[in-house]
């Protein structure tokens, strides 16, 4: 019996080599990822042009949006049922229908959409009402310093400081890629905060409330940065 394990121990340690080889491949993958990824994206872009099945959308890092929702199901809203409520520290609380929003001056913002999960959609056009216009119409009262967004999925929330909310590239968006925003993309109305990661752009927007300080949003309570600026993370990583 005692001789048995010794006999078994003969031979090349292929198992260990497989483990170490895999670790090495992982490290090499991390080092080469920026180059591999660029080539991969180019390949995917070329492949998806000839791909009738849509299977390329399943491949790693596809050049497209992915569906995220924090709840099980989200009600559908349209022209007749959608409402956007603006209240909190404002002089004139208001409720906008979809028609009201469409009647206001529209602004177009074209910017790259980046998710913290690694997918991105370059140069995506959004169109809608500038959040600053809605805030001006409501009239922010003196202690008001931040904006809290609520959504009709019943769970998601987001936040911006008043200064961020007044930027020209922050929209209450009605269209994306020149078409009305679909339900899966957060329609009929979603927020679009162009300079920040996409989790800041709350889908299914139903409430805008001016508060005296920033109230962390859904993912921010779960560890995400309250300021989701794009420039500090991936943008630098890619430029390097």
């Amino acid at each position: 019996m005692t001789g048995k394990p010794k006999r078994r121990a003969e031979g090349a340690p292929v198992g260990r080599r497989a483990v170490l080889g895999m670790l090495g491949a992982g490290a090499a993958g991390l080092a080469a990822a920026p180059y591999l990824q660029r080539g991969w994206e180019r390949f995917l872009a070329a492949a998806s042009e000839h791909d009738a099945t849509g299977l390329t959308g399943l491949l790693p890092n596809p050049g497209g949006f992915r569906y995220y929702s924090v709840v099980g199901s989200v009600p559908q809203k349209d022209e007749t049922t959608y409402e956007l409520r603006i209240d909190g520290l404002v002089d004139r609380p208001a409720t906008y229908t979809l028609g009201d929003l469409r009647a206001l001056p529209q602004t177009r913002v074209v910017h790259d959409v980046l998710c913290t999960d690694g997918w991105r959609v370059d140069r995506t056009p959004f169109e809608g009402v500038k959040l600053a216009d809605l805030l001006d119409a409501a009239g922010v009262r003196s202690p008001g310093a931040a904006v809290r967004f609520t959504c009709f999925d019943g769970a998601y929330t987001e936040s911006l400081t008043l200064e961020q909310a007044r930027r020209a590239d922050v929209l209450v968006a009605l269209t994306m890629q020149d078409a009305p925003i679909t339900h899966a993309h957060g329609g009929p109305v979603r927020l679009y905060v162009a300079p920040m990661y996409f989790y800041k752009s709350a889908k299914w927007l139903s409430g805008i409330s001016v508060t005296d300080k920033v109230v962390p949003g859904y993912w921010e309570e779960r560890g995400y940065a309250v300021d989701g600026w794009l420039d500090d993370a991936d943008r630098h990583g890619e430029a390097a």
Binding site: K4, R17, A25, G26, Q37, S69, A233
Partner: protein, 235 residues
């Protein structure tokens, strides 16, 4: 009174198979010898726990990754939590298993490649499926490679996963790179694990070995020809 009566009959019925077993013990003996112990309880528990964790990890990954599934399931935070914890706990059963001498002995068997393992690989490359062409010890060459590869892959996934989980853990590695490696390797693991399941489905006796700990001697001699002869000579 009634309960006493009930309990006596129950004891009676419980005793009968025991007595039978005792009486036919010697007669049944060849039957028992016919079965060979393949895995200890500890090993089977390690395998079962790892299997469930891997399944939870892959299923929650699918719910995060595939658009149609994500739309159906939603509940992103729950899925993220399941994915993160099932993933990071994956090595735990293995580590606990190291306390078992039998588990460590099997790890040594999985690690070492004997000359007949290369023969097994050659046969596999030539698509020769008859067991005679594929000599194997307690584990065949495919199982050895699978074990080593999946162990390394899980470690790489845990590392890149932690980089995504705790951003800024290692600022020199961009989050995009970690995600890229995590995504690509996830596909490889999904394919390999599905292959592992297919192999198990094709072989009920090997499944029985993992479920009960015992396999038929004839099966072992056929599929793991270099495992048992040594045991027999010991006996």
């Amino acid at each position: 009174m009634r309960s006493t009566a009930g309990s006596t009959t129950r004891t009676g019925t419980a005793r009968r198979p025991d007595a039978t077993r005792g009486r036919t013990g010697p007669a049944r003996r060849p039957h028992r010898v016919d079965r060979v112990r393949r895995f200890s309880t500890a090993e089977r528990m390690v395998h079962r726990a790892t299997g469930w964790l891997m399944l939870a990890c892959l299923a929650s990954a699918a719910c995060l990754y595939f658009g149609p599934l994500a739309q159906l399931v939603g509940r992103r935070y729950l899925m993220v939590t399941i994915h993160e914890w099932s993933g990071i706990l994956l090595p735990l059963p293995f580590l606990l298993g190291l306390l078992s001498a039998e588990f460590r002995a099997d790890l040594r068997r999985l690690n070492r490649f004997a000359p007949y393992d290369r023969e097994w690989l050659r046969a596999a490359r030539r698509r020769r499926t008859e067991p005679g062409a594929r000599p194997a010890g307690k584990f065949n060459a495919g199982q050895k490679l699978y074990a080593g590869w999946i162990a390394g892959a899980v470690l790489v996934m845990a590392f890149t996963g932690l980089l995504m989980w705790f951003t800024g853990l290692l600022p020199s590695i961009s989050r995009t790179s970690a995600i890229f490696v995590h995504d690509v390797l996830a596909w490889a693991i999904a394919i390999v694990v599905i292959g592992h399941l297919c192999k198990a489905f094709q072989d009920p006796e090997s499944r029985r070995g993992m479920r009960t700990g015992y396999v038929r001697r004839s099966w072992a001699e056929r599929h793991h020809s270099r495992w048992l002869p040594r045991d027999r000579s010991d006996a």
